[in-house]
């Protein structure tokens, strides 16, 4: 021990609060604060665009199940998973999130395979963003304006945006613009996010106001009037929607019970699970190592998303009528009717409102959410690419941070952009391929379940890190809370994976879809072993990247 200890002089007085004494020392600050983080999470829940698909999809496929109940059950199931993610974030607040968790706790081959497959499906997400902008926002915008102002040009423009050409070109342009906007790095996004979020809030407020103030009779009259512009042969389009569904075999008593409930949960999962996406950029979130704060942000965004989606669904059923809403979902999902405009909330609400202001304010949020969704793909995926590249499993250059565009992995952005643009062209040539976007749910649930498994075993396989983290004090009995939450998430995930694989209504129970996913996983696994061997030849043992040094 020191026997002759010199005096330490600090330039500023040390800080003390509640027995915590700090000396003056340098430190860093992360870019995304908790408010930014919360908004980011709300965006990932897709409370407008993704939710619009939930309303028609769940009603069409599982009509005998109460969709609000499905949403509530899904949210309850998600709560422990968010707890597990918050705890993992607190212990390992690094960019790359799930990849870091899985590779360090389970095995790098598992992590790389699961997350590289996710990267591939991120290209599908870029297509989905383009689709939402074209078919869910711009098409309704111009179609409705065309009806309101009696403009054939507007009507044609609306029709064009929902065509394959319109969707493809919108996707190409959106991807390129968002990639360009992301070049300066995350801080530009954080500035823009407030504007984008304002759009979503305005849209939610407008939708709620319209739904609360519109009677069922008004909706029916407005809907029939609107649709007769496109289809004069059906002056009562409202009844036509119901009759067409029944004629095609629609049974409102089908898709109920536990089977139906799990089915609706599986669709709601597409929305409510996605706050976990922010784990990809944990390295840039302030207080990411504070379990309490991260958990509050995640659970808070879930509560907000649940409230918006369940509230909107309940009001839709009331205003539009239950039989019609269920039949509309059936017709949409099974293509029973070739709708002149996609029957999402983005068109139903403006029809109810019957005015240009309602139209613009409602669609503004859909547009900003779809733009954010595209940006979101670039944000999370580039962080994942950088983490994999740092581990030498992807080429070094792919994860390089640009010196010109500070803090921005330009090559990773380009990689995503090129893949997204190619896929947009492929979708144009092979339109049915768009059905495989549904595979994103399966791939996502697989990687999230693996992360939950990692969470469950973390206290036992990486004891030194776990014990050093503040989450080690949370136990139920003698079992770590993290283990319980992780096990919960893993079991729930397995059930949903089975559903995605066997239930046709969830879109994946086809040979082509399953083969496609299988190929992605196989390629990912082969890539891992090839990269590992190639590094070995260069004297780099990548296995060492993933192993914990025992401190003793």
């Amino acid at each position: 021990m020191a026997s002759n200890i010199p005096e330490v002089k600090t330039a500023h007085a040390p800080v003390s609060t509640q027995g915590v004494f700090r000396r003056t020392a340098s430190g860093l600050i992360r870019e995304m604060n908790m408010a930014d983080h919360w908004m980011y999470n709300v965006f990932t829940l897709l409370v407008l665009t993704g939710a619009a698909q939930f309303y028609v999809w769940s009603c069409g496929e599982f009509p005998a199940t109460n969709p609000m109940l499905g949403l509530i059950v899904a949210a309850v199931l998600v709560v422990p998973i968010y707890l597990a993610y918050s705890m993992l974030a607190s212990a390992m607040p690094r960019s790359g999130g799930d990849y870091i968790f899985q590779s360090r706790i389970l095995h790098p081959a598992v992590a790389f395979t699961a997350l590289f497959a996710l990267l591939v499906t991120e290209w599908y997400w870029l297509e989905l963003s383009g689709f939402w902008i074209a078919a869910m926002t711009l098409s309704p915008l111009f179609s409705t304006l065309g009806v309101f102002v009696h403009s054939q040009v507007m009507l044609n423009l609306g029709a064009w945006f929902s065509s394959n050409w319109g969707i493809m070109l919108t996707t190409l342009v959106t991807n390129a613009l968002i990639a360009l906007a992301f070049l300066p790095g995350l801080k530009t996004y954080i500035k823009v996010q407030w504007f984008l979020f304002a759009g979503v809030v305005i849209s939610i407020v407008m939708m709620t106001f319209v739904l609360l103030t519109t009677s069922h009779a008004t909706f029916v009259a407005n809907f029939n009037g609107f649709m007769s512009t496109f289809d004069p042969a059906h002056s009562n389009y409202y009844q036509y929607v119901i009759d067409a569904a029944k004629a095609a075999g629609f049974d409102p008593t089908s898709g109920g019970g536990l089977y139906g409930l799990i089915g609706v949960v599986a669709i709601a999962w597409f929305n409510l699970i996605w706050a976990v996406w922010s784990a990809m950029n944990l390295g840039e979130i302030k207080h990411a190592s504070n379990f309490g704060k991260v958990n509050r942000v995640m659970q808070g965004s879930l509560a907000f998303g649940l409230l918006v989606m369940a509230g909107t669904m309940a009001l839709l059923l009331k205003v539009c009528g239950q039989e019609f809403t269920l039949a509309l979902g059936y017709d949409w999902f099974n293509h029973t009717i070739n709708f002149p405009v996609q029957p999402y909330t983005s068109i139903l609400i403006p029809i109810m409102g019957g005015g240009v202001i309602v139209l613009i304010l409602t669609l503004f949020g859909f547009l900003t959410q779809a733009i954010q969704q595209s940006w979101n793909v670039f944000i999370g995926s580039t962080r994942l690419i950088v983490a994999m590249s740092m581990d030498r499993l992807l080429p070094d250059g792919l994860g390089k941070i640009s010196r010109r565009f500070r803090s921005s992995p330009v090559n990773a952005i380009l990689f995503l952009l090129i893949g997204g643009e190619v896929l947009a062209l492929v979708f144009w040539f092979v339109p049915n391929l768009v059905n495989y976007t549904l595979s994103t749910s399966l791939v996502a649930t697989i990687y999230q379940s693996i992360t939950c498994l990692a969470a469950a075993v973390f206290p036992f396989t990486a004891k030194s890190i776990y014990n050093a983290s503040p989450i080690s004090k949370y136990k139920i009995g003698n079992i770590p809370l993290l283990t319980l939450c992780g096990a919960w998430g893993f079991i729930v995930g397995l059930i949903l994976i089975v559903f995605y694989l066997v239930v046709p209504g969830l879109g994946l129970a086809s040979t082509a879809g399953l083969v496609g996913i299988g190929v992605i996983y196989l390629v990912s696994l082969i890539w891992f072993w090839v990269a590992r061997a190639a590094n070995k030849r260069k004297g780099i043992d990548v296995d060492l990247n993933f192993q914990q040094i025992p401190p003793e």
């Binding site: 010199p6 330039a11 600050i29 389970l106 954080i190 780099i540 060492l544 401190p551």
Partner: protein, 328 residues
Amino acid sequence: MQWFKHDKQSKPRNFTRIFYATDIHGSEPCFLKFLKAAEFYKADILVLGGDITGKQIIGIEKRPDAYYSYLFGQEWTAHTPEELAEMESLIRSNGFYPCVVSPDEMKELESDPAKVDALFSKVMCETVERWIHLAEERFRDTPVRCFISPGNDDHFALDKILSASDVVIFPEGQLVDLDGVHTMVSCGYANMTPWHCPRDIEEDELRIRLQQMLDKVEDPSRCVFNFHAPPFDTTLDDAPQLDADLRPVMIGGSENIIPVGSLAVREMIEKYQPLVALHGHIHECRGAVEIGKTVCINPGSEYSEGVLRGVMVNISDGKLLSYQFVAG
């Protein structure tokens, strides 16, 4: 979970492996891992690149009924000696110094910055002495060479402790031999930060210090630069701009990120083109960049999570064969 088997080394290596870590800021697990890294990563040379001391003391108040501390935004209690040891271990794991005090002593500390200064001196020096003792036990009579240099956050009081060891090498301000072929120069000083840390100096002074050291280097292409401060404007040095009150400068609602590395360090790398340059200081700027022929590396730091970030650098006959980031 180790599913891979390590390859056995059947033949002697024809390169030298350096394991470099930095900015562990008082984290006990990180230091213990650093000592273990020689064996784990099969490194011939260990270099700890500065900022080894912690930034916070967590006072543990001894009251009649229990021990109380405030950590991670909440109160923690320990009722038994075992629980107290567990609490102290948790505090150390996060790079803080635990200190058991009476309620009266706690009040004195809270009201008297001079007493806190004195306490910091005591706990930092005691900790580093203990660590050096552990390193001596580990590496005495082994071929592993262990270099521990200070960083801008480290007080000068440590120099005496570090240089007193006959096993651990204190390389600050010196040209040292690494393996008979390669050399290393070390500088823990950094260009001025807003905190005015103990080894913060102006660029001109830093330039003179570096130049004096580099004048002794015969062959820069076989020399490793162990400079705590990263070179300016290289992405290894990005940090939020701070105002005079140490608050982030906001532009358009967002923190303004600027390069904060050293111009002098950059100039010396550009001028001498060393074999490799190892840096720390900016914890979140893990990465590698090239300045001319020189690869400059900052392995970053995650000391507060008990994770030892580092980089393995393989060199042979004046060539950088490869480098690999690791986090254990």
